[in-house]
Symmetry: C3
Amino acid sequence: MAAHNPQLGPDGELRHLLSIEGLPRATLMQILDTARSFVSVTEREIKKVPLLRGKSVFNLFFESSTRTRTTFEIAAKRLSADVVNLNIATSSQSKGETLLDTVANLSAMHADMFVVRHASSGAPHLIARHVGPEIHVINAGDGRHAHPTQGLLDVYTIRHYKTDFTDLTVAIVGDLLHSRVARSEIHALTTLGVPEVRVVGPRTLMPPDIEKLGVRVFHDMREGLRGVDVVMMLRLQNERMSGALLPSSQEYFRSYGLTPARLALAKPDAIVMHPGPMNRGVEIDSAVADGPQSVILPQVTFGIAVRMAVMAILAGNG
Amino acid sequence: MAAHNPQLGPDGELRHLLSIEGLPRATLMQILDTARSFVSVTEREIKKVPLLRGKSVFNLFFESSTRTRTTFEIAAKRLSADVVNLNIATSSQSKGETLLDTVANLSAMHADMFVVRHASSGAPHLIARHVGPEIHVINAGDGRHAHPTQGLLDVYTIRHYKTDFTDLTVAIVGDLLHSRVARSEIHALTTLGVPEVRVVGPRTLMPPDIEKLGVRVFHDMREGLRGVDVVMMLRLQNERMSGALLPSSQEYFRSYGLTPARLALAKPDAIVMHPGPMNRGVEIDSAVADGPQSVILPQVTFGIAVRMAVMAILAGNG
Amino acid sequence: MAAHNPQLGPDGELRHLLSIEGLPRATLMQILDTARSFVSVTEREIKKVPLLRGKSVFNLFFESSTRTRTTFEIAAKRLSADVVNLNIATSSQSKGETLLDTVANLSAMHADMFVVRHASSGAPHLIARHVGPEIHVINAGDGRHAHPTQGLLDVYTIRHYKTDFTDLTVAIVGDLLHSRVARSEIHALTTLGVPEVRVVGPRTLMPPDIEKLGVRVFHDMREGLRGVDVVMMLRLQNERMSGALLPSSQEYFRSYGLTPARLALAKPDAIVMHPGPMNRGVEIDSAVADGPQSVILPQVTFGIAVRMAVMAILAGNG
């Protein structure tokens, strides 16, 4: 089985992080456990460990995302790696060089790790198939396909507040159709044993055969939130807000915005998550975003630790 | 008093550097004395000290300024900090995220320091009011309001060449109206005991009630320079050079450009300063800019030491 | 002699790397020998040496080149330098500051090294003439003039595979007219004793008096390649591909593209080089680029070591 999974080496060790699909439960747990130790590192006076000293991490951003790039950059620097940022959209690609030639070139500079962001689904997989055994690829978001470190930080956050995955009900709310986060999250949650994952959103923003992922589909926000332990909001991208799929952002908020009244339908100790950046007043009310049940900022903190964990594990499996 | 000043902590220690207004003389002297020790560090073979090792400094530039960003980046790196540059103009802000959400996110990554450049006056103050006690904010220029490290490096430079502030006459020449540097300089000079600060410039580039800051106003360049110890030129921004406020850059030079003949009216050992970048032939003649009385390049050198000092003091007051 | 060469100090030591012209054979050999030791550094677990610890390297890119900037950035970081990237095209220059004022300012920040990329031939020389004795300038490409580290990595690569320069025939193929690489290569090869350097390309892309550099000129690709030990392809820049000088890129490939059939005319153990980025199907066939005689990726690897060597030698000659 491992032989067919490009993320895993012959002994089942993590070679690349491309998507949460196909990662065994043991690997997920290894990442979450390792991340826990890095949370304490980032709370120290000197937030730095020498695990990646002398390693070269290239942030290959074929589409711009300052926020995501920053999280990987700070994670790599806290591991003492040398980090080089490449905004490829504006460089060699425009000189006619192919993606694989660009990657081959950077590999020849003795790169150790590529953090890849690309508008096309599958680009990180393509790169991973063509690099040598000493180079590791991390998918930092590819098209609508996957954004695995986001999924991992989400399950880390849930474990931090809820401890046991096996008695939870989790609702993922919003634009499931265009989200690269949602698929990662669903795979992580089901792999870790969450018995009920719900997806909540309008028909126009729901992939047709999403039930196959093992989730329950709700189109009514109130029904979907009733009794849940975790509410995971998705970001509504600006370009969806008015057009063929949605009447307007105000209309969306009226039906699917997370308000205190709606949140009251969830369990009293339910937590509220959001991958950011938030559209306040579109998918989430400020009273909820800044309220006592929100764990949106801890997600960011855990996100650094999770990225450090992934990098440290990959570097150890060279 | 300290309680009302957002820059100072309960014991009067420096928490943020937002503007020179409201900084006690003792704090200014602490910064200048600390900077002196860093001048010697930057002259060493290995220009690096471990004071900020493991700290994360974020350069948050909401408007582009390569020169200013570079000075803070090199200062932070010589203190061994991890530095992340964020050009926010082109990132999350355009995705609809608020300034405070952007800052809250970066804070959750366990940032230690934000160096903030923003086109809007007061943006660094707003950020400072919303960050936790472990995070320090440095204003790297906000609108027309303040640019305190420039003011500090200017007084450092004056002290280096003139030793005693209390018998000096200082002339600040040029576009006082749009300068974010001039206000910082005036506050620093008067706080440090300079008995006579003059401002020299055309009526159209002079704020209406500038006398309230304790300065003498001159519209005639020759009168303004007579007998001064220090000439601080201001940069004339390109967009002012032809328009409602000024007839042309040539005309401006004829009236307010610093020529050798005009400089001869100052004391023979007067020093000439400029915050850069210079418009040669507009506000200053090359013969003066490159002449023996110019201390324009030492200002840059001292600027790195002053920024290191501010960061080191803030990091020690965590 | 050394007195007239701005690259060499009074004792003949390397002060700047501006072009390969005028570098004595001994200096070239010093760089190649030093680079050899850095090839082994980049193959280590921890690819880092402390030779430039505490030094400040500024990448001054007056024209954008992500690839070249990356090679210098990674080389400097592996030497433990602090690296600051400045894209000057979009900064102070547009505020009316002169090139020399920009450089004087950065020098005043106690820069140790400037890596300069500029569209104008001679810009790095101009900078080198105006910096203090403690600052070193490396030309990273100036107009059509020179790109000396590319020339150096090319001869390093040749020495790696061919050992002895003095019995080689080398063909440089393509757009000699606009190449800043070709001149550097020709100077390096002749200085190191290569007895026959050929240049191969269409008349429209051949400088009129190129024979004066000591090369043999060929306009027929098959004639030019016959019996050579080394084929150095040049990149055809997009803007040349259709216009006054060339009918089309397809036409160019038909006459001067390196195909397996043409390469078969060279010696059986001939190596194929290309400075990148490649235009597959324009100047080179993929079967050759990816074939057993291609050393294009090793060139990249050696390029990092050569840049580390240049920086280390310059830093030692402070």
